[in-house]
Structures are given as structure tokens and as C-alpha cells.
Subunit: 339 residues, 2 copies
Amino acid sequence: MKVAIDAMGGDFAPDEIVRGAVDAAREYGCQIILVGDEEKITPLLDKAGDWRAMGISVHHASQVIEMTDHPGAAIRKKKDASVVVATRLVKQGQCDVVISAGSTGAAVAAAHFGLGRISGIERPTIATPMPNLAGTTILLDSGANTDAKPKHLLQSAVMGSIYAEYVLGIKKPRVGLLNIGEEETKGNDQVLATYPLLQHAKTLNFIGNVEGRDIPKGGVDVVVCDGFVGNIVLKFGEGLAGAILQLVKDAIKNAGFLAKTASLLVLPALRGLKKKLDYAEYGGAPLLGVDGGFIICHGSSKAKAIKNAVRVAKEFAEKKVVEHIRENIAKEGNIANED
Amino acid sequence: MKVAIDAMGGDFAPDEIVRGAVDAAREYGCQIILVGDEEKITPLLDKAGDWRAMGISVHHASQVIEMTDHPGAAIRKKKDASVVVATRLVKQGQCDVVISAGSTGAAVAAAHFGLGRISGIERPTIATPMPNLAGTTILLDSGANTDAKPKHLLQSAVMGSIYAEYVLGIKKPRVGLLNIGEEETKGNDQVLATYPLLQHAKTLNFIGNVEGRDIPKGGVDVVVCDGFVGNIVLKFGEGLAGAILQLVKDAIKNAGFLAKTASLLVLPALRGLKKKLDYAEYGGAPLLGVDGGFIICHGSSKAKAIKNAVRVAKEFAEKKVVEHIRENIAKEGNIANED
């Protein structure tokens, strides 16, 4: 298994990206190609020891896409940008999966144009794993496709279900449509038109509408929504979890001397909890629907997130997610192409 | 100040509604008219002592709108439904504000048709206060108007800003547009078209786009979004906060004997935290844009929430929110009626 990592993408690139790649090579034993500015990457690798023996190599790319660049235009103009070159390595069969923590818009554009789409899929979708009280929920789309049409949400649902089944190992994943009420008659025009498409899909275990509160409860395995809604939910959840843990810490600190002493015993438990809620543990979110592996990482990814993204990439390739999506989309037939 | 309370609306009606009304009459000393089935309400009141002396009266209404009723149709057919009658009392000037914990759809319909809209407002909007690390954020719309047009979001923004200023006491409230990125060029068609309207509004302190994570941080006072998005965010937040507090408790419980002992000291602090995150403390969310006071409560409201809703109703009337909205919408001129 070979992974191409965009070494120049992300708030902490290239340092943390390179560190994560080294950690992943050590832990997972897969081959890693770091793509980016050779002169910056090589010295960082040299510090880590005999990186060539670990299965790491460097592929030079002279350009970088900045957060301020317009994604579509940047992909077309900067043909030697690290994320574009890394994607090309997968297209040419030299690698199995790309990982990037750079601009999400640029990553989606690079994947879309560089790898093409799986037949029957019109829009790629980002599938983000979220922790819940019982395990993990896949939220998709979490930001690739805003203003999705109902047929795009159906395509998302089929892809998310495949991912939950083959990567998370959930038999017949429960697929829910994110809505403002459980009743079939609730919602905006977009979800009202999507409901019957999901209901009649051949490859889905559709459980109907779900509400925001069902996500943390864990009553649903795959939550389908527009990329605009998904991205807002995801970032709100991230912020809220952080704020609540801060409040818990403050509450303990301010509870007087005895509670303070007690907190020394309780804090390790809280750290365990923080780990459970830490998105870095999940590593990255696959971009589903493009014809190849592509894992998108949080812009603020540090070494740990990158290492875990390599684990996600490995599972993605080994479980043959692209092939399974292709099969199931074909089974859905014309429904995937409805207007 | 007189409040009409829909005694038959909500999961715990009429018992908890009546209990909340009694508590509110005692604490806030305002006059309360309980609207609903006299035969059910009076015995509950009798248990509380001399309720007439507390300023409580009962106004009989023979019908109830069920959660399964279609809101619009139910409002037209059930002319003697408790929420319809309570709304009529406000329209006729016998009361200042209505409170209902019944079906939100029915409440919005009853208010819309019973009170009419403030001139220049096309769609009412639910303004929900959410706790953040620094204080309170007003989220609107949290479910009255899905598929909002940009001009509706502008109207929401003006109303939310008034509410934050006069009821929360925030000078020049910071108004943000909920989006998937801070850049002006980010978002779906709806928010892209809304941005310039907010930017050019005369009565707003518009700070641009905000992301989901900005809500719990408290970097914004009024968050403007479509009712579909707002409702999902609100319920997701409710569920996530509950789930995290559960995880904190479990983590403490499972941390061994010493931590368990310690937790006895820490739990009071956690309870304080829970109170901060408890939506019942906020009591209710005003429906803004209708020509009169209308406070919508959570369906699962118990006595405490109803009591606090009376506090919200009192502030709403005393701070003359409707009048201030009317003035500011007039100042915005034609912009409020753009297509």
C-alpha cells in the first residue's frame, strides 16, 4: 500500500506533516511518498533517522496552493502544486491514496479533476466520522457540495452506507436523513424531495428522518445532509465540545480546595474523554465519489492526525471502498441520475 | 402585565404548565390567564392555594391541537383550541403576551394568523438564546421558516439585533451570518445573496460570516440562518451537551475508587454546569415578527421552563420589542421588501 501525502498543505506544514508521515511509516509499515518542496522536506526527514529504510520517499513539487487562492482557479494554474502532483501519482497508479490537510476546496477540486468521478456519481462528498455515545456516526456531506440536489443526497447516502459497512464494519448501516422533525412531511424543499429517493433506494437500510439530537445519541450510523448543513454541524460540534470541556475544567477548579484536590484524581478521566471527542484521533475524512482514494484532513492537523489519516487511507484501500461504491451505485440504476 | 398561557400545550400539559404558572405568579407578581379545559385546570390550581388572590384566572377553551395535527389546517378548523384562544386574547388587547409549549408549527401558525405581521416583515422567526462561554448568543431562525429567502434573513437579522439590544442589554450587538467559512465568497446561494443585504443594512452591526464553532465561543451576539439550519444546530447542540455531560459522569464513575470519592466533591460543580447548559433555564424563545408578544417553549417544558418563560414574556413586553422592531424595519426602507 502506497500513500501520497501533500507535505505542503495545512497550518503546520511541512513540519507536522513530515513528523506524522514518519510516525505512520513506523507504525503501519506502509510506503509513503511525501510530495512538496524537496529542500524543505528532506532536512526534516533527516532528523528522523534512516527514512529511506522506513519506506519513505520524496517527490518534488514546486508550487503550493494557499488558503487565499480560489480553489478551482488554483488547481488549473498551479499544475505543479503539491496537492495536484500527489493526486496525479494516484491517477497514474503510482500510489493508492492521497492525503491532504491543505485547503479543503482545493483538495476537492484537485481530486474531482485529477481522479474523475465514479460512474453514476455527479458530486463527491466528504464523509466525516463523529463520535457518539455508542460508537461512530458518519456525517456526509460535511462540506464538499453545498446546494446539493436530492439526487446528490441519494448518491451520498449510498456512498456513506458503503463506507460505514466496509470500513466501520457495521452490517446494514442505519441511514437517516437529517431533518427538523421525524415526520415524512417535515423539512425544506430539498429534504422533502430527497425522502422518497432514499425510501426507494435498493441498497440502503433507510430509517427515515433523524434530528440533530440523534447524532450524539448514536441512533443512526450514516447521517445524510447537504454540505452546507453538514459543515456547520461539524464545526459547531467541535466548538461546543471544546467549550463544554473547558467549562467542566473551570467548574472543578472553582469548586474550592477539596474539589481542587479531588480534581487531580478526576482529570485523567477527563483526558480520556477529551481523547474520545478529539477529531485528530479520527485522522481524516474520505472524499467519496472520486475515482480513487483521497483523504481530507483538518487544516490544523498535527503529526497525530496525519498518522491516523494514514491508517484511514490504508483501510480505505484495503477495504476496496471505490469498488464497492461502483457496484452499489450501479445497482441503484437510473435513480442516481434522476433530475 | 398580563400573560396568556396555553395550558393544554406540551408533553406535560396541563399539570406542569399550571405548576409553572403558579410559580411565576408568586415570583414575578404578574397576572396570568390559563387558557384551556377549565375542568382540568381548576382542580390543579386549587391544590396550589388561593390562586385567584395570586392574580391567576382561567379562560375556558374546549379544543386542543395535537402534535399529529397539521398545523395550518388545525388552526383553521379548531377555532376554540387553547393556543388559538390565547392568541386571540392578545389580539383583543386583553393580554400582552402568549406562551405556548404545544406544537411549534401550530404556535407559529396561530401567531401568524391571529396576530398578523409587523409591517415590512414577511416571515416570523424564532429567536433562541444559546449559552456560550462569554454569555448568550441569539440564534435565529431556529425553525419557523425553512427555505428562507435572503430578504427574510435580513428581516431576521434586524429583529434579532433588536432583541439582543433591548432584552439582553447588548449595545450594538454583533450580527453574524452562519456560513461554512469566513470569506465573503463562501457558502451556498442563499447566504451568498444574503451577505450584501446584511452588509448594507442601516441598523445592523454586521461582522460578516461566522462558522459553527463561533457560536459556543461567544464571538457573536446574533447568529442569522435559515430555520432549517437553525433547528438542526439547536437540537444537535442540545443532544451533544447532554451526551458530553453523561460521558463526563461516566468517566468519573469508572476512574476507580479514589476518583469516585473525589467525584462526590466535584459533582456539585458539574450540576452548576448543567444548569448553565439547561435550556429550561432560558424558558422560551420569542417568535419575532408577529404583531404582538408570543413566546414558544420546548415541547418537554416542565414547571421551571414555564416559570422562566413568563420572565421572558415580561421582559418582552416591558422592553417594547415589537415597537422597536417596527421602528428599525421602517428605517431599513425598501431593502426589507427586495426580491
